[in-house]
Symmetry: C2
Subunit: 157 residues, 2 copies
């Protein structure tokens, strides 16, 4: 099986999205021991779907779970790789978490901050649906690509 | 006593340096309970002086001490404030520490990474002398000011 091919989509059909395929690739690259080989792509991405009902059950106290932070990092890693494919500029994430699920994440290409997001309620990081996950990822990529178009020299510095 | 005035410089005479005065100000601003009121400026900055001999005694194993990371953050906070005074651009630090004293720190103004440093052996963060501390700080400020002059639009975005 190729790294993103998914002939038997258990766990739901994924929307056709370059971002979702990139995210799957990022996640599968972490699977050094092949523990997820039997998982379909939709099963791999299932943890990113946090419906409103599911979210309400996650308390906003203390620091977010390490698994949640890990998913957040992989999400932005996928955004960075999509930016690179669209522009040729490598965009590296830097995240700073403060306490209680507040933080900031930036993606940096050359001298340019191509994306900057303040994070809150990271405990509940997730999306209503696969479609929403895809849309949000694509929108962030488009925003960053637009920023690079405004400041191309800084991005390529 | 004004926040940086130091009529009785115990612990050594500090070189005349805008950067050192900024760093003293940053440190004194953290002194909510007045615990350091009796300390001279040189005494406050003394922990930044790590001679080669002293450095060799600090093991490079595990993660750096929280006090060392705190000093590193305050050092770059002072760099950021000096940059703001020189250019009018607020430069906010973002630090990411990996394991074992490796990491990266960036200072961001608007959309611009005005300074980016990879860190290593952070356990031994310090300078040979007050003069070296001052020079290094001033050099980082000058580097960042130069970067802002190259990409003024991104810095003011």
């Amino acid at each position: 099986m190729s790294i993103v091919e998914d002939p038997n989509p258990r766990g739901g059909v994924l929307p056709d999205s370059a971002f979702l395929m990139q995210l799957v690739q990022v996640l599968r690259a972490e699977d050094s021991y092949g523990a997820w080989e039997d998982k379909s792509n939709a099963e791999l991405l299932a943890e990113y779907v946090v419906t409103k009902e599911k979210g309400r059950d996650i308390p906003l106290m203390g620091d977010p779970e390490p698994e949640t932070l890990w998913r957040l990092e992989k999400f932005y890693a996928a955004v960075g790789l999509r930016i690179e494919k669209e522009t040729g500029c490598m965009a590296a994430p830097m995240m700073k978490m403060h306490h209680e699920g507040f933080g900031r994440i930036v993606l940096i290409a050359g001298r340019l901050v191509v994306l900057s997001k303040h994070l809150r309620d990271v405990h509940r990081f997730g999306f209503d649906s696969f479609a929403r996950l895809a849309e949000t990822g694509e929108a962030l990529v488009a925003e960053a690509v637009g920023t690079i178009e405004i400041y191309p020299d800084a991005a390529r510095a």
